[in-house]
């Protein structure tokens, strides 16, 4: 039945497929030929202001007519079966998202019913999700009396009420104090990592993405610039290592030079940048991973009789990665 929430066959497609997605507001192109296939997991949507992040989320929700391209959610084509597709999506908007005059539980149950749940299920489920997000004690209060943090939790609860496969979160930590931000991120992380929900997190806060997501999509000027894993750059060919020790510094430096390393000294700390591709090619390491670099430095230190007190790979922050991608 169209409009109802149908529990999916586990064998059926659960992902989101986007192909050649193009959209323009009043003839101004906002999204240009985006294609990607998203499986379950937490995915960060990053991009400078005006890059089309929120518009992409709205396209995934079928809230705007596509100029060109196709969006499929859980196997349902958004153009042909928008209602069936939306039944598998939960949306947490950045702005608004609560209906004044209603209690938290009333609003959540109401939106559950609109998602195709029967009244009894919707009310029961509303209590459950409000409990889950930590609003159990405030669920009978009017939405407009909620603090900003409580409103964000309520918005998350209403997005969860019909048990969607995917959560689309637009700036979920916007306007929250640090404690509230951590609480929301914990919830989102739990949903994505432990409860099997797909999460698409659109935000300006790179730390939020770093805390929750395993993968990022980077948008710039309406184009999908990159799709990368959030792994601290372990797969990057150039890695930075922090080295500290004592002994024959000149011999150690010469050993590093033989590895083709760039060395910057900051007092007692050595910042050693190694090209892991080159190391792999020369057979000095075990391939392109951080361990190869660590091994090469250990070997150089041993040969130079340089006693190491500290050796660790400096992970590439998401901010560095993001700016590298966007400014490239």
């Amino acid at each position: 039945m169209d409009g109802s929430v149908s529990k999916v066959n586990p064998a059926a497609a659960t992902g989101i497929q986007v192909s050649d997605l193009t959209f323009a507001y009043a003839r101004r192109p906002v999204l240009k030929g985006i294609s990607c296939a998203l499986q379950q997991g937490a995915i960060g949507l990053l991009g400078p202001n005006g890059s089309g992040k929120t518009t992409l989320l709205r396209c995934l929700l079928g809230q705007v007519p596509l100029t060109r391209g196709k969006v499929k959610v859980a196997g349902f084509d958004m153009a042909a079966s928008a209602r069936r597709a939306r039944a598998h999506l939960g949306w947490m908007p950045e702005r608004g998202g609560v209906i004044p005059g209603m209690s938290g539980v009333g609003l959540t149950a109401y939106l559950g019913e609109l998602s195709g749940m029967c009244a009894r299920d919707a009310m029961q489920r509303a209590h459950e999700v409000l409990h889950y997000v930590g609003l159990a004690d405030e669920r009978y209060r009017k939405c407009e009396d909620y603090s900003q943090g409580m409103k964000q939790r309520l918005k998350l609860a209403q997005a969860l009420v019909h048990d969607p496969q995917w959560l689309l979160l637009d700036e979920p930590t916007s306007g929250l104090d640090p404690q509230g931000r951590i609480a929301i991120l914990e919830l989102v992380r739990d949903l994505a990592w432990n409860k099997g929900l797909g999460v698409i997190l659109s935000t300006h806060l790179l730390a939020d993405v770093e805390a929750v997501c395993r993968e990022i999509l980077v948008l710039k000027e309406g184009r999908l610039l990159a799709r990368e894993q959030v792994d601290g750059g372990t797969g990057e060919p150039r890695q930075v290592f922090e080295v500290e020790g004592f002994g024959d510094e000149e011999a150690f430096r010469a050993g590093l030079d033989r590895l083709g390393a760039e060395v910057v000294r900051d007092n007692r700390l050595w910042l050693v940048t190694l090209d892991l591709v080159r190391l792999a090619a020369e057979g000095s390491g075990r391939g392109i991973d951080a361990a190869a670099g660590t091994g090469a430095i250990l070997k150089a230190a041993a040969q130079a009789d340089f006693a190491l007190r500290r050796l660790r790979r400096r992970p590439l922050t998401l901010a560095e990665e993001f700016y590298r991608l966007v400014e490239a």
Binding site: K7, G90, G96, L111, L114, C118, D121, Y132
Partner: protein
Amino acid sequence: MPVYDRGYTHWQPSGGAHLPAWLVIARRGIVEPLKRRWLLLLILTGWVPAIAKGGIIYIKLKAGNLADLLGGGWTSIGPDGFLNFLEHQRFFVFVLLAIVGAGLIADDRRDNGLSLYFSRPLSLTDYLGGKAAVIVFFYFMVTLFPSYALCLLAYLVAPGATGLDMLLLMPLRVTAYCLVSGVSIALVLLAFSSLGKRSIFVMVWWAIMVTGTEAIAAIAGGLGSHGLEAVNFLGQYHNLGAVFFSTGPRLQVPVPVSLVMILAWTALAFLVLRRQVRPVEVVS
């Protein structure tokens, strides 16, 4: 203990039947205003004319003056009397609909509620149908339902064929009239509501539409220019009522002109709603 440790469980449907989305929207739109006591009082006040008329009908019939009641006038139980009654209810229609209808879409637009609605599996028709049903319900509260009560009373106390007419034909006439006028008025009011984000401004526009056009028509009529009566918003519905109640036109304007005006307003309202009600606002 972190809140997520309390657990998130997936939903297991109980198999209960769910209401169509438009009905869920309508139910909320009807129940929420009815929680306000003063609104209930207003609705009850809207029944006062019906109670008064019912009392007069009862007394006259008990006194054996059926002939008086079959003639024209406010106390008549003929078609003319019922159309008169519905016409006199226009004050309550105006006030009640302004209160319950002005914010129906405007409030959703103000609170970014449209985005929330249209992230759910519902269509524009569901949304508008639910909102329109709210207005139609409150319209019926002061027009159709009191008319039914009067029909029932007249049936109970009027003798013979007149009573039978009150049971069969008159309810049909009243239902058809109220349904046509109610749906059209609901779409027009929703269109006004979709144009603003503050219900107070919508109320002002609604007041201009109802009382302003009536005043213009009255002034024009007083000056002998009866053609301008065609702008009288609620007047056109009463004029069209002549078709449903088989009576003469209420205005100097021909009934087909009223029909054209009503169709034009309704079509315009529909176009406005199609344009205004969408989850994303395009700022050009």
